[in-house]
Symmetry: C2
């Protein structure tokens, strides 16, 4: 019997499958745990598994030639990691890194592809999820162009919060800076302001969201656009 955090229904994509399809997949789902910072897959590498997060949060990062990086999307218990496997690409040009430690269920690539090809609810869900992720990526592009670091930090905190069961996030400012593709000092500054305003508190890699609605007031429209699209596509 799986533990609570590894129940398939802990992943909201799997939870939406009709019972018979889920029954069919269950034997192929295998629990795995991930530590903070772990690399789930490397840019350009072959992937043997697709992952359905239950409690883990995984960032999709692009690594620049000069070593700097920027996040293009994030996946948690609302989705999966390894889209390229059913989209026909086999590999993707980005790295997937654990942003918040936790568990996931994994499925062999071959099984996934066969299930996808059957074309049922499973296929439909994966495609709708992919579209939601595209919205997230494109909105990240817009946000990077037009909004301040502080707004982006709010967006990022809220997106992370929505994929967790707790208001406490374990992540350093350095890590967040890598995700957002900004300097660590920029995060210090923005986080300092949020703390002054009583929206968050943080100490040494431990952020606590104190005032969620305050964050929502401070964030740019990008957060809501992405959230609404996820809600619309994955109900």
């Amino acid at each position: 019997m799986s533990q609570s955090s590894l129940e398939p229904v802990e992943n909201r994509l799997l939870a939406r499958l009709p019972e018979e399809e889920l029954e069919h997949l269950l034997p192929h789902l295998e629990p795995v745990s991930f530590a903070l910072g772990e690399v789930v897959y490397e840019s350009g590498g072959q992937q043997s598994y697709i992952y359905f997060p239950t409690t883990v949060i995984i960032s999709l990062l692009y690594m620049m030639e000069n070593g700097s990086s920027a996040e293009m999307g994030v996946a948690g218990n609302d989705g999966l990691v390894g889209i390229a496997l059913f989209m026909g690409g086999d590999t993707v040009p980005n790295r997937a890194v654990v942003q918040s430690a936790g568990d996931a269920l994994r499925m062999k690539t071959k099984v996934l592809q066969d299930e996808f090809a059957r074309g049922g609810t499973f296929q439909r869900l994966l495609l709708r999820y992919t579209q939601a992720l595209m919205t997230q990526m494109s909105q990240t592009a817009v946000c990077n162009r037009l909004h301040t670091v502080e707004q982006q930090l709010c967006r990022w905190l809220l997106l992370s919060r929505d994929r967790l069961n707790t208001d406490e996030l374990v992540m350093t400012q350095e890590l967040i800076a890598n995700m957002l593709g900004v300097r660590r000092e920029g995060v210090t500054h923005a986080a300092g302001r949020l703390q002054e305003n009583g929206l968050i508190s943080y100490v040494r890699g431990r952020i606590i969201i104190l005032d969620r609605s305050g964050l929502e007031a401070a964030v740019c429209e990008c957060y809501r656009v992405v959230k609404d699209e996820y809600d619309r596509l994955l109900v």
Copy 2:
């Protein structure tokens, strides 16, 4: 008989279909022309057609609440416009605008969805194209975060050039500024430098690429990443 610019094989996605699948689709493809600046579909609107560009180039834009905009992707004769129609979303939260006047072939939504559901080469191609577009979107996010306006202008010119048959692009700096999500003066400045270096020439909404390899030397890595991914997925 269609004119040259409306031959189905003018669209590289359609050109890759095996003959029998193409024969099957031909009766459902209908030529249309688009003028510069025309809105192909509006954010959130229902779409009756999917479009396969032959000579037209279409930008996918996000419109901010405050009226400013930024491009999240571009589609030309290498792809299609209306991904949401087969991904299951029906509508998307962005606007599609004609960036360069030209022709396309359109197909009714219902026909498209039925063809897609058959799961043959057509489905496979559409999914692979979608993945390529995701790379473009995510790379746009990275580029917006990390690179200068001049680099982005180079990227944008090259991406446009690759979807045309000519080195002459008809577009004002104002228009480009809207696409890139920067000020018009910023484009003037960057374009001025490219002109000084003999890479392009422009006069009143008419840009001529004089030195393609020079542009490729000035562009950031983002262009190559996107191009390589298109080549890889859509061979």
